[in-house]
Symmetry: C2
Subunit: 248 residues, 2 copies
DNA sequence: GAATTATCATGTATTATTTACACAATATAA
DNA sequence: TTATATTGTGTAAATAATACATGATAATTC
């Protein structure tokens, strides 16, 4: 270790340098880390979240997010994708880190810090892989009796989602590849919890010019079928509008 | 442990419940956690960030964020406030969690996961408390040679800030309590990296009606002094506009 | 103390965006 | 054939965003 005592005024403010970072790091307190996935889906005009029953006796009967422990050398995002893949068999889905929750008392077995990820997927696109623990799509509206701080986590992810779908076309991940404008509007209304004017909603999306008209129509609807569209992700990526507006 | 083998079709999908959560948690791999604070300040029309020299020999000469190790029973936010307070003596400042960084190779001493916090403060309001390690305000534009993944962290926090100041009046935390409209505009221009029309900028802020006219004027400026204003946080909190606009 | 300099303060016309709102067309089910 | 549910479309009014120029004021210089 640097024990230089010839410090001059100019280098007096320089601390002694640490030569053995490994020793340093192993002296730190360490905590188990988990990732929890808030996986949103959309079905029957309702926003759903994928839940299981907690497997802790302490939380018997309570609902829990899908999560797992971070492995020694696993990247954070990889852990979240692993959890998602284990349950839905999906790999190429939207997934984003939202927030880390670390209240010292959030886990009954000791302090566990969890990193919440949010994922959006089309319920009918992907079969749920494992039916353990009553894995199911739960309506976002009736959440209660959740294990850990999972209710808080879902709420924060839901707020995050509400904000995010207004500035980024994420919502399309929740719809089938081809969708009608009514489905799209229902989705926005369900997530944002508002009613939108149908004509203005259409006008807005057509004006953006990111919808591809598939020249196909809905089938098996008990009324005049609507046209089907695809979202043009490529065009969007190229023309992404650089947001700039002070507005609060 | 529940080894019930009388499972019926109805409860077959229920896993065996874990009775000893503590045993479970101690079996998990554990990681040291740090918090790193990206503390922004504003001075001479430039956005600055508070840095020190890394005290690891491995990163000798490189710049580092202010951070510290999470203590056993300390809340995440508390750790961030502690770091901030140790260096600036401040307690009542803006501070928000931004993102968690956990690349397995980000620390030379072993895997350390860090939670990045962003803080905004008025440089002249708060004396820096400790002058160790060349603590100083560094221009955000010329960042290079940073320790760990700190450059990435600053970049992500900077992007986060650019977005955030457009939808929430955070920027006022960077200004003195009383400021002129020119100062406010300079700040927005510095953070967003754009030029704004002075007349439209004023119009916008006056229309919001959150500025309190102090009936005072700048002093010691070599030109006609501008009026000073305060931001009306109370009024803002009451009238906060519920953002709602699909716009991407 | 007159002239210069740098910035403050203000308004209007143009364009673009948002909102509110009504009716004919079409497929299915009864 | 009729009833029903939903699709598809347009316009007028209100609001917000943009582009842009001139006189006023305090300090500084000559």
């Amino acid at each position: 270790m640097n024990t230089d005592d010839t410090l001059t005024p100019l280098n007096r403010s320089r601390s002694i340098l640490i030569a053995e970072p490994t020793k340093l790091v192993t002296s730190y307190p360490a905590f188990p880390i988990t990732v929890d996935c808030v996986i949103f889906g959309f079905e029957e005009n309702e926003l759903k979240v994928l839940l299981i029953r907690s497997d802790l006796q302490y939380f018997e009967g309570k609902w829990s997010l899908l999560g797992d422990v971070l492995k020694e050398t696993e990247a954070l995002d990889d852990a979240a994708y692993r959890v998602l893949c284990q349950r839905t068999g999906m790999t190429d889905v939207f997934l984003e880190q939202v927030k880390t929750f670390g209240s010292p008392s959030r886990h009954p077995g000791g302090r566990v810090i969890t990193i919440a990820y949010c994922s959006l997927l089309n319920i009918h696109h992907h079969e749920l892989k494992i039916y353990d623990n009553e894995l199911h799509w739960h309506n976002v509206k009736n959440l209660s009796d959740m294990a850990f701080d999972h209710q808080l986590i879902v709420e924060e992810c839901y707020q995050w989602l509400q904000k995010r779908i207004q500035e980024h076309p994420l919502a399309f991940n929740l719809l089938p590849e081809k969708f009608s404008l009514r489905e799209l509007q229902n989705l926005y209304e369900a997530i944002l919890g508002v009613e939108l004017d149908r004509r203005n909603f259409r006008k807005k999306f057509f004006a953006m010019d990111f919808l591809i008209d598939m020249e196909e129509f809905e089938e098996n609807v008990p009324h005049r079928p609507g046209k089907l569209y695809k979202f043009n992700f490529d065009k969007y990526e190229k023309n992404k509008r650089k947001w700039f507006a002070i507005d609060f």
